[in-house]
């Protein structure tokens, strides 16, 4: 990370403020006014729209081995997603991924 300390703090404060405004929006500022349906429909997909796109390059081209896909990491990613989706449980997903990664790294 090559940001200055000032930049890091600026990111932290702006992220905190922005997050607060999102959380407080209807409670304090917008009140009972309803957002248009088309906008709510798009907002519903924000987490599933952002997080997979963040992960995909990390899994397929991890910086750790110079852009080579790591089969153990890829398998761990698949296991994590499958178990977390199937059981609807975040921590079970994390545990499955960590176990898969550790086991495969020992074998490979």
């Amino acid at each position: 990370m090559t940001y200055s300390d000032a930049t890091i703090w600026w990111i932290i404060v702006a992220l905190g403020l922005g997050t607060y405004l999102i959380r407080f929006s209807f409670l304090g500022l917008i009140g009972a006014r309803q957002l248009p349906e088309w906008l709510l429909r798009h907002l519903r997909y924000t987490p599933v729209a952002v997080l997979p796109g963040l992960v995909a390059p990390l899994v397929l081209w991890p910086a750790m081995n110079g852009g080579q896909t790591d089969p153990a990491g890829l398998a761990a990613a698949v296991a994590t997603f499958a178990i977390a989706w199937w059981r609807k449980n975040v921590l079970l997903g994390v545990a499955s991924g960590a176990l898969t990664l550790t086991a495969l790294n020992m074998v490979l």
Binding site: I12, R44, V50, K88
Partner: protein, 234 residues
């Protein structure tokens, strides 16, 4: 009726949130480890955890910061992850909208996944609560979870500094994100959005870090909303 005073609602919220600490604690530890590994110092890590209190967006910010992405893309991507909380805010409004401003301001600060989910469940179970009793329950839950979240981050940040660099933590972040996002994939529309996000992010990998992600996220939101519209319902 003493059993329905705000004080007892506050305590009920605190108690009901205790099991959630089991979930919050590992997250917090991992954030502490990952943030310090990425290059934040202890004060910055704790500052982010206390000011933001939103795990997924904190992980997003730290990941993009570790790639030295432009500041505006760090903010845009992390805040996009938090946009779901605008919907929490909207659905809390009928319950606590009549409470005083300071009370709503506090609910705003403590409005995150766990407090929201717990409180909405309780409001359905006990619809006769006054707005202030509902606020008390909400803040009670937050009073259990926030110190746990901060303490866990601290443990991870301090402990993480002891982990030698050779131990690969590169996959901690992807595994975390995948585990968080998988349970949210509840319909074909969610699946279509997630798949679009992956494909566009890979195609746009040549763009500066963060920019490709924003393009992918925007395309994915359009696809998710369009699939939902055609199929009628999420």
């Amino acid at each position: 009726m003493p059993a329905t005073t705000s004080n007892s609602r506050f305590r009920a919220g605190m108690a009901a949130a205790l099991p959630f600490l089991l979930v919050v604690f590992p997250f917090g530890v991992l954030f502490g480890v990952v943030a310090t590994e990425a290059g934040l110092d202890l004060v910055q890590t704790m500052g982010m955890t206390f000011v933001v209190i939103a795990g997924a967006s904190q992980f997003t910010a730290v990941q993009l910061m570790s790639e030295n992405a432009p500041v505006w893309t760090v903010l845009a991507a992390s805040l996009a992850v938090n946009l779901r909380m605008a919907m929490y805010s909207a659905s809390l409004q009928p319950h606590v909208g009549a409470a005083p401003f300071w009370a709503r301001a506090l609910v705003g600060y403590t409005n995150f996944d766990q407090t929201y989910a717990m409180s909405m469940l309780e409001y359905e179970r006990a619809p006769d609560m006054t707005p202030m009793q509902k606020v008390a329950y909400f803040l009670g839950a937050a009073t259990t979870i926030i110190p746990g979240w901060c303490a866990a981050t601290y443990a991870g940040a301090v402990g993480g500094a002891l982990i030698p660099d050779s131990v690969g933590l590169e996959f901690a972040m992807p595994i975390m994100f995948l585990a968080m996002v998988a349970p949210m994939v509840r319909s074909l529309a969610h699946l279509a959005a997630a798949a679009t996000s992956v494909i566009v992010a890979l195609l746009a990998a040549g763009l500066p870090s963060g920019v490709g992600l924003l393009v992918a996220a925007f395309a994915a939101m359009l696809v998710g909303a369009e699939v939902e519209r055609r199929r009628g319902g999420a």
